[in-house]
């Protein structure tokens, strides 16, 4: 899931300051699940903006703001509201902000900061798990990704900075290499850690990335 955090109130109000009429878009997928852009949050934002004198022409949750066709159809259905609004406030991730921007001729303002791709342990507790590096090596490390979960992306073992098994950067976090070693020992695979891991191929992170597989994915030819 992509986790988002609400931007500071003041920052959002400042970005919206020059506009009178707004349309609010929430997202029914990730932002709804982490309670930053679902029905409740859109309603609360509407109330907040109206209380400072702004006009909200519509506040609605779209199924999936990263699915271009769904967003296009949703905006078409609401084209009168879009027309009336001076700007659109998007309560979803950076993908959503850009998808909506590409479809409307109005300024688009993000209400959230996109935090990371990770796991929902429980409501309010989320952890980054994946950097989307383009060459998954988590399987080599007992199913734990050192690229994401080590601040230094170490592939050959921990740095010398771990204090009491805790990360040099975050004293409350266990050094991920401790977790990797423990897991691999339990699987009996820790011997492979003795092999020298080669450096990452960062050309696989060359941005902006794309997949242009067409129907090859659906036909299983990918």
């Amino acid at each position: 899931m992509i986790f988002t955090k609400p931007k500071p109130k003041e920052e959002v109000l400042k970005s919206l300051g020059q506009y009178d009429k707004l349309m609010i878009l929430g997202c029914g997928t990730c932002s709804a699940d982490c309670h930053t852009g679902g029905e409740k949050e859109v309603a609360a934002m509407r109330k907040r903006l109206e209380s400072v004198g702004m006009i909200v022409v519509e506040g609605v949750v779209v199924d999936s703001l990263c699915n271009l066709e769904k967003v296009r159809r949703a905006l078409k259905r609401m084209e009168d509201d879009v027309k009336e609004a001076d700007a659109l406030l998007v309560m979803s991730c950076g993908i959503a902000v850009q998808v909506v921007s590409g479809l409307v001729d109005k300024p688009v303002v993000p209400a959230l900061d996109t935090a990371f791709a990770g796991v929902l342990e429980r409501i309010g507790r989320y952890y980054e798990m994946c950097s989307m590096c383009g060459e998954c090596v988590a399987g080599i490390y007992g199913g734990i990704c050192p690229v994401t979960r080590c601040p230094k992306e170490m592939l050959n073992g921990p740095c010398g900075g771990a204090v009491d098994g805790c990360c040099e950067v975050d004293a409350e976090a266990e050094c991920v290499w401790v977790a990797i070693y423990r897991r691999m020992k339990s699987l009996g695979t820790e011997g492979s850690l003795h092999s020298i891991a080669k450096p990452k191929d960062h050309s696989k992170w060359l941005r902006p990335r794309k997949v242009d597989a067409g129907v090859a994915i659906l036909d299983g030819k990918w």
Binding site: P151, P158, C159, G160, G161, A162, V169, I196
Partner: protein, 288 residues
Amino acid sequence: MGFKEKLESGERIITVEISPPKGADADDILNLAESIRGKVDAVNVTDNQRAVMRLSSLAACSLLRSKGHEPVMQVCCRDRNRIALQSDLLGAWAMGVRNVCVMTGDHPVLGDHPAAKAVFDLDSVQLLELIRQLGEGKDFMGNRLKGGTGFIAGAVFNPYAEPRELQVMKLHKKIEAGAAFIQTQPVFSMEMAETVMKYESEAGVRFMVGITPLRSLGMARFMGEKLLNRPIPEEIMKRLEGSSDAVEEGIDMAAEFVDRIRGFVKGIHIMPIGGEGELRSFLKRVNF
């Protein structure tokens, strides 16, 4: 005898770590090196250590070379990608630097430029392999070089980091990747010195045991809590507390410690950590 020859000879070896200034005025580091000329086998120059921006290790090493000193250029993985690392290593060689010591490097968030982008394109093991490749006359991609290098490359070992098995696993990888010497974090007890020497005999490369004269009770506590995660031995704390001149007491204790370990330790790496002013007098006191 140069550093490389000293290492290969098996004779006792003393190295010292000094830091470049936070500025372009290199007088202090050059004066410090001058004050200890002939007293040590090589001078390690730190690379923006603790992620605090300073004059580059490369430049400081080059200046030291020009004055006839023997520097060990410390290279960390935090600030440079593989292109810059190779470029700097070739440049260092061209300017007469012959020894390097590699390490991961503290994360930027711990230093004085916390918003800086952390690079960590390579880790210390991969960097050692890169240095070996430069020594074979090729760059990291296998392209032939017009002038290769022949560095003696070392790495660091922190015997305090837990779990130790992981640090030892990494130590062996560093040696497999080409580390020809190892320098350790400061050691204060016989027990730790013996432990480190056990790893030296397993590893088959020369170790230099870290030595730091403590200057105050506060410094000792800080080292114990923040750097070593192990309290400094009680007898050291007592002597610092009971002394009227903690700096002198610290120098005495460090010199005594070196005396006690010199029977089974053949290499020491002195890290003054702010005590550069006392370095000359400490070296006079040390019998190694």
